[in-house]
Amino acid sequence: MKLCYFAWVRERIGKAEEEIAPPGNVTTIAELVRWLASRGDEYAYAFENPKVIRAAIDRSHVKSDATIQGAREIAFFPPMTGG
């Protein structure tokens, strides 16, 4: 699946997007965040406070308990500050 990062999540990880294949026991957004945080210092820094991280699956907002099965594109970003 494709992961996209925005704003300071993107800056901390150091890339805007990447293709990943998480292990089979990673089935929800919260588990994906935990798994990503274990991938290196830059990921640990980006996801150090999972509560503030927002997520979207295939371009719709989702909660952290949402299943990632079948997802093509998952985005992680801070709370939005548009308008």
């Binding site: 925005f6 704003a7 939005m80 500050t81 548009g82």
Partner: protein, 161 residues
């Protein structure tokens, strides 16, 4: 009511008066037009700023805004809605966002414009970075904006976050 809907994301500036005229001229049923323009302030917490830079999730922003416009047109009898949101670098005094709503009567136009702005602040995938004296920092989300969006929530409906 079939509403005339326009949603645009663009780097370029917009002309609020022209957009409002496009929704009123020749629309005999329109008796009210509300135009809201969000502008880049010249100061942030008292300190002068050089510019704002707006990052957005291109693939999602238009769909997300369109969903909220559709919700607005289902909740209020609107003749037309135009939402324009800029991205990229924006200098103090420049336009950031435009919401235009038209209706037969003012109540619907006022309420829908405020609803849309409250949702744009908290749900549209945009992030502001502020430039002060050469240093850039991300603008923190405000609890007051969440509270403003929350008051439009219908009983029994759950936001997806």
């Amino acid at each position: 009511m079939n509403s005339v809907v326009t949603v645009r994301l663009q780097r370029e500036d917009f002309d609020a008066a022209k957009e409002a005229a496009a929704l009123t001229r020749g629309h005999a049923e329109v008796g009210a037009v509300v135009t809201f323009t969000g502008i880049c302030r010249g100061t942030e917490s008292g300190a002068p700023i050089a510019a704002l830079t707006l990052e957005h999730y291109a693939g999602m922003a238009e769909a997300e805004i369109t969903r909220h416009v559709e919700e607005a047109t289902s909740r209020w009898p609107l003749a037309g809605v135009t939402v324009i949101h800029r991205y990229g670098r924006i200098a103090p005094g420049e336009n950031i966002v435009l919401v235009v709503t038209t209706s037969s009567h003012r109540e619907a136009a006022f309420a829908a414009a405020e609803f849309l702005m409250d949702y744009l602040k908290t749900r549209a995938p945009f992030w502001k970075q502020v430039e002060v004296a050469g240093a850039k920092s991300w603008v923190a989300a405000k609890d007051a904006d969440d509270a403003a969006a929350e008051r439009w929530r219908k009983p029994g409906r759950e936001a997806a976050e």
